[in-house]
């Protein structure tokens, strides 16, 4: 069970907030646009080209001026949950992958509860294991099973994975990853953005990513590639590592800000419930 019932109950009261309008087909998400909706929202003055069917003739009769009625249009949005399932995601307490699965499940549940189509994809190197987008609360069960089945393995090749992840419809993508790709994270995020997706980045880190695990004469082995690196981890090396880490984190944040991507950094030490119910709310991801 990825999410506890009490947590699910809290999630049902939330909505994912899109930062820009989705140009998808009409759906359950309301959009304050002219026509096609069922629920009246407001009036505005008639403009050339407006559909005559939305002219409010009663107001014309009283005021002798043309107004059209506005309805809240139901948007039909795809929410894509991209979970980095490379071997590096098995680190952390709890493991970053487990954390990412719960976070993706929570956000997916929020989206499903609000009528969005929710799909998921697990990235194992350049390979992508995907769950096609579906709508409806019943799809939550499939989503949870899909996520639960994921195991961390393979290298991190985010850009290649992004190329293979080709959504048929535009929408919103939540990428949960540690972004520790030797080839860089920028191409990956830009690729998602070029797909026309609104990108939400959850930069998930474990304690092992933030500080050296031990010191001394070490041979560091990359869990994904098996490559090793001999280093003497002393105070100077630790300081240099911290400096490089901070520079890396700042570069990710600045990149996302520069390209209009929502960015949240989290560590596995923070409970998923707190992240979703508190910090994502504060960040405006959910309301």
């Amino acid at each position: 069970m990825l999410l506890e019932p009490a947590f699910l109950e809290k999630l049902e009261r939330l909505r994912l907030v899109a930062r820009r309008k989705t140009r998808g087909p009409a759906g359950e998400r309301r959009s304050r646009t002219l026509g096609r909706g069922l629920e009246f929202s407001d009036h505005r003055a008639y403009q050339v080209g407006d559909d005559w069917r939305y002219v409010d003739w009663n107001i014309y009769a009283r005021l002798d001026r043309l107004f059209v009625k506005l309805f809240e249009e139901e948007e039909d949005r795809d929410v894509h949950l991209l979970v980095d399932a490379s071997a590096s995601m098995r680190f952390g307490q709890p493991a970053k992958l487990d954390y990412a699965k719960r976070l993706a499940a929570a956000l997916g549940y929020v989206a499903l509860a609000n009528g969005d189509r929710v799909g998921a994809a697990a990235l194992h190197g350049s390979a992508v294991r995907a769950l096609p987008p579906r709508r409806g609360r019943a799809h939550a069960h499939h989503l949870f099973r899909f996520l639960e089945a994921e195991q961390a393995h393979g290298p991190t090749e985010l850009e290649e994975a992004a190329k293979r992840f080709a959504p048929r419809r535009r929408g919103l993508v939540v990428a949960v990853s540690d972004l520790l790709d030797p080839r860089g994270f920028q191409a990956f995020l830009l690729r998602l953005r070029h797909e026309g997706l609104e990108v939400f980045v959850v930069h998930l880190l474990a304690e092992e990513d933030l500080a050296p695990p031990v010191t001394g004469e070490l041979r560091l082995v990359d869990v994904e590639t098996g490559e090793s690196l001999e280093v003497t981890v002393d105070s100077r090396m630790v300081a240099e590592f911290v400096a490089q880490r901070d520079a890396f984190l700042e570069s990710v944040r600045a990149f996302c800000a520069r390209h209009g991507m929502a960015y949240v950094r989290a560590t596995t030490a923070l409970p998923v419930e707190d992240l979703v119910l508190r910090y994502l709310k504060q960040a405006g991801w959910v309301t």
Binding site: L220, D222, E227, V233, R236, M237, E240
Partner: protein, 575 residues
């Protein structure tokens, strides 16, 4: 540079062990990390900022190696002489005064111990040893073998003779111009590092014994005693003749004065005086002098008699033995052989050739000359000491033409010729004394005495301790020397017996064939006066720069550096 404890250098073998342990140390701990991205960046940045970073581990090893090397070198106690001298020459006084016991156990023993301590502190420099005796003796040429030098010092014994420190220092400096000379004596000497042992010495000594003949086969022995103490001393004196007590005397000696007492005793070969003052220098309490019954050289007369020459020889050497028929086989056993009008080949020995030209000497007769006069003579040769032959007339002579040797007197032809070769000495008179007025001149007995002395050497002498003598061997090859230290067999070398130095006072008798020679050896007169006015100077050591302390400091510094480097990593571990 030298090492006081070279065995400490064995610890240098620990360096390979350190390197081995370094390579055998536990390998690096493998740690699996999510990604090497940040690590690579960190490492690259550190190497860029601190290029020596990659060598820090090797620096740690180097520090360990240097620390071990410093420890090993400090254990070896390296040092370097700061005196600027590459060589050290030790001069040890072996003179009479060094036997004084005012310094326990004696001045000499104390000085020798100090010299050994000095040698013990020397490594890597050449060491020479000179014994300051009556004449300097190089007992150890410059050597790097400390054990040889130590053995040479240990073998030294003090002598009863004087010491010439200045000459010894000169000899020491001649061994090596850059040598540092260290003198161990009872008085300081300029031009060297002096260590003085002993202070003022109060001594009562016999400073002279003289025996003079008396009628009736007796002799008068006069003993002179000097009082080096500040009080009047009554000194009992015992006189011995050839080791037999002959008289007892007593001398009252004022402070700083000397007094003579005499006794009439039977004649003997030597006389000895003894006192027992119980002072610090016992060796001056005994004095040996020649007596009046002295041995004479043994002379053999070969050939027809000559009354003038025989009378002269009888006065000088007593009645000669005679050999009517020449038998050269026994000539070498006599001190002097007079060959008169005999033409023969001479075996090794000492010869007076009178009107005889031997067949095996580098001289030949040229005929006969009449009425010759000595016009020229040598003024330096010992044969003509106190003798003036110029103007002496010779009515008939057999002139000779020498090819070697030395013509000592000549007129128209050589009239006195001396020749010396290995094992053979000869004096040639190419005329018969009866054919000249030489035998009538007062110098004739002196000339004969000089001839006998030059040929045979003195048969008895009174010499100062420390003297060295050699005597003609004649035809003999072996002799036995009896002395205070026992008997020694001597072999002739280059026709002479070279006697060892008379280091002990007493009587020495050389027995060579039937002949005997006697030396009465006494301590140096005046040595008992004694006193070293200079204050005792503590023994010195060779000034050296001890590098051991610096190396210990370096070792500690390296340990601190090692700790600092290591703790730098440890600090990283606590971060």
């Amino acid at each position: 540079m030298s090492f006081l404890s070279p065995s400490g250098l064995w610890w240098l073998t620990a360096i390979p062990l350190v390197v081995l342990l370094y390579w055998l140390r536990p390998r690096r701990v493998s740690v699996v990390v999510p990604s090497l991205v940040l690590w690579r960046r960190s490492l690259r940045e550190q190497v860029r900022q601190r290029p020596l970073r990659r060598f820090e581990r090797n620096v740690l090893l180097l520090v360990q190696v240097f620390a071990v090397a410093a420890a090993a070198l400090s254990l070896a106690r390296p040092q370097r002489s700061t005196a600027g001298a590459v060589d050290v020459v030790v001069v040890l006084d072996v003179g009479l005064r060094m036997q004084a016991t005012d310094v326990r156990p004696s001045r000499f023993e104390a000085a020798r111990e100090a010299a050994l301590k000095l040698l013990d502190g020397l490594r890597g420099v050449r060491v020479g040893m000179v014994a300051a005796a009556r004449s300097p003796r190089v007992i150890q040429p410059l050597t790097t073998s400390r054990s040889d030098a130590v053995a040479a010092v240990r073998a030294l014994r003090p002598t009863d003779g004087p010491s010439d420190l200045e000459a010894a220092v000169a000899v020491a400096k001649s061994m090596s111009p850059s040598a540092a000379v260290y003198v161990f004596s009872d008085r300081p000497v300029s031009g060297a590092h002096s260590s003085v042992f002993g202070g003022s010495l109060e001594d009562v000594a016999i400073t002279g014994v003289v025996a003079s003949p008396l009628p009736g086969d007796r002799m008068r022995v006069t003993v002179t005693v000097r009082n080096g103490t500040p009080v009047v001393r009554w000194v009992p004196v015992t006189v011995l003749v050839e080791d037999q007590p002959a008289a007892r005397l007593a001398a009252r000696v004022q402070p700083g004065q000397q007094t003579s007492v005499a006794a009439t005793v039977p004649a003997g070969l030597w006389a000895e005086a003894r006192i027992v003052p119980h002072d610090a220098l016992p060796v001056t309490d005994r004095f040996v002098a020649l007596g009046t019954r002295l041995p004479r050289p043994r002379v053999l007369w070969v050939g027809p008699p000559d009354p003038f020459l025989e009378a002269g020889l009888r006065a000088v050497a007593g009645e000669p033995d005679r050999q009517e028929t020449p038998d050269p086989r026994v000539w070498g056993r006599f001190d002097v052989v007079v060959v008169h009008r005999v033409r023969a080949a001479l075996p090794p020995g000492n010869y007076v050739l009178v009107a005889s030209v031997p067949t095996n000497l580098p001289v030949r007769a040229l005929g006969t000359v009449r009425e010759d006069v000595v016009r020229f003579q040598s003024r330096t040769h010992p044969l003509l000491r106190f003798v003036d032959l110029t103007g002496s007339r010779v009515t008939r002579a057999w002139p000779v033409q020498p090819h070697a040797g030395e013509v000592l007197a000549e007129g128209e032809a050589p009239l006195l010729w001396a020749y010396e070769a290995e094992g053979l000495r000869a004096v040639l008179l190419p005329f018969s004394p009866s054919d000249s007025e030489l035998a009538l001149r007062p110098e004739f007995p002196i000339l004969l005495a000089n001839v006998v002395d030059w040929l045979a050497g003195p048969t008895s002498s009174q010499v100062e301790a420390g003297s060295t003598v050699s005597v003609p061997a004649g035809g003999l090859q072996e002799a036995v020397l009896h002395g205070p230290d026992g008997s020694r067999h001597l072999r002739a070398a280059a026709g002479r017996f070279v006697l060892p130095a008379f280091d002990r006072a007493g009587v020495y008798v050389l027995e060579a064939g039937p002949a005997r020679r006697v030396w009465a050896v006494h301590p140096p007169v005046g040595s008992a006066t004694v006193a070293s006015s200079a204050p005792a100077v503590p023994p010195q050591r060779v000034p050296v720069e001890d590098w051991g302390r610096w190396l210990v400091g370096m070792f500690v510094a390296l340990l601190v550096a090692e700790w600092w480097l290591f703790s730098g990593q440890a600090r990283g571990g606590r971060t």
